[in-house]
Amino acid sequence: MTRKLLLVDDEEGIRTVLGISLADLGYDVLTADNAETAMRIFREAAPPIVLTDIKMPGMDGIDLLRKLKEENPDTEVILITGHGDMDLAIRSLKYEATDFITKPIDDRELEHALDKANERILLRRQWRDYTENLEDLVKRKSDRLADMEHVPERPVNGRFRHLFDEMPGYVMVLDPGFKITVANRAMKEDYRLDGATDACCHQVLKGSDEPCLDCPAAHTFEDGVSHSSEMDYLHKDGQSCHGFVWTTPLREPSGSIARVMVIMTDVSTILDLKDHLASLGLMVGSVSHGIKGLLTGLDGGVYMLDYGVSMDDPGQVMEGLKTVKLMSDRIKHMVLDILYYARESQLDRKPVDIRTFAGETVDVITPKAREEQIELNREIDAALAGRTMAIDADQLRAAIVNILENAVDACLEDRGKTAHRIDYRIYPEGDDAVCFEIADNGIGMTEDTKQHIFNLFYSSKASRGAGIGLFITKKIVSQHGGRIDVFSTPGRGTRFRIRLPLS
């Protein structure tokens, strides 16, 4: 560190005396007797401190001060003033002189001014160091941050690895060849990926050697923008599932896209729910027709009851009551069917004795058949004695009773015959199945009708309800692994056969 100092004074005596004092203080003193010389020396030696007289022939101290500051604004300039020079002294401060000392020069004053100058030099240097350091620090940290964002292959360490692994759904990183370079834990476990294999996304999720036609990752590689899509994919068990996919580009520091991250969520259940809700909506629309029919029928019953009572007509009272009972029963069925349809139902299978179950089921319809004077024959094969089957008894009974009720209605609607009957036959088929057959000699149905009866909203008559009954019956039979067949001749009758496996 140089302790160079430039002393400028036109008086030789001052230069000598001050020179010695300054040298004692440890300064390397340069001298000049006028401003021009001083500037020359200043330019050559670059002393940090200049001590100059104000009043000099030629350029005075103030002008020298200004010139020095022009050359190097950091120069510390101390002015030596005489008594009458207070104005000048104050002006010097305006031009950023460090200090001024008055003649005769007091040593302490001199030292004080020099200390001030040195302190300022020190502070300036520290400040400069500090800011340079800071800029450097910020730059280094920024660079490092940029690096971390850009390098995709850097192993995701520490707590980020943990987060990545625990993300729900499947997350993977693909290279431009669609190879899976990184995968989250769920994906690795479900699809049994290990680090060694070079599996491609389409091989793992679609079982295909070709990338998907509209692959969102391919789009992202091309245009550098996130894409999303729906797709069917293979579940780890081989089942087909439905998922939503989002892709996002991972860029190199250069800006090019080296990798694409793919996130997938399974939405199969949402799709099922969507379908279910859509058909519920459909059902409500078409059920309204059936409901209006049922309500009209109920109105009719109440009207007749009302009229019969007020006119004392027992015939109409009986008719009215009968109609009310019939319609409210049908309304009950319809409401229960709708409620059944609206919720997902699981089977609760328990073993039951076949013959007991068959008997209890037909018992439900026996009073009604008797009332309508329909002959009801039951034939439950003795070969089934002691045999059991695992079924949801409540649901299967409801399904079979629905068919029995239809048989009763078919008989009632048929005005071509005087005597009606329903045959209820239960018999084994081979060793592994049992058949429930319900045959009536009612009105029968046309080929056209037969094709539609199991459809969701088919109904032949409004007052018979919404037509969900047979749809649900078929569903329950299917859930038990069985099948249902219909045979019919218009005007002659209808036969339903339900075949249930016994395993």
């Binding site: 027709h289 209006k292 009209t296 109105d299 009719g300 109609t323 019939l326 032949s460």
Partner: protein, 118 residues
């Protein structure tokens, strides 16, 4: 002599209701459950007014109406009352004397009948 009403509906419960309603109001009735039968009864019983359900199988509701107006012969101008689940003014039945949606108000139906045939 009492006026006669032909009730046409494929639903026997509704037919029973309307028959009781009209009989109680002093009318004679006859009934049919489909389009074919309806023409037979029309020919045989010569009703003064017809009530017709539109939602019948094989479109027999609107089919009957059109056939009546075109080929009904002596009966072709018989007044028709629509009693149906959707009783809006179908273009094809635009000359009906009344439209009643199910479930209907029995007094209003009888009033319209009375205003038409007395």
């Amino acid at each position: 002599m009492a006026k006669k009403i032909l009730v046409i509906d494929d639903d026997p419960v509704v037919v029973k209701y309307l028959v009781a309603l009209f009989k109680n109001s002093g009318y004679d009735t006859c009934e049919a459950y489909d389009g074919v039968e309806a023409f037979d009864v029309l020919e045989r019983d010569r009703p003064d007014l017809i009530t017709l359900d539109l939602e019948m199988p094989e479109q027999w509701g609107t089919r009957f109406y059109r056939k009546l107006r075109k080929h009904g012969g002596a009966m072709k101008d018989t007044p028709v009352l629509i009693i149906s689940a959707m009783a809006s003014r179908h273009l094809s039945v635009r000359d009906a004397v009344g439209y009643f949606a199910k479930p209907f108000e029995p007094e209003k139906v009888v009033e319209t009948v009375r205003n038409t045939i007395g």
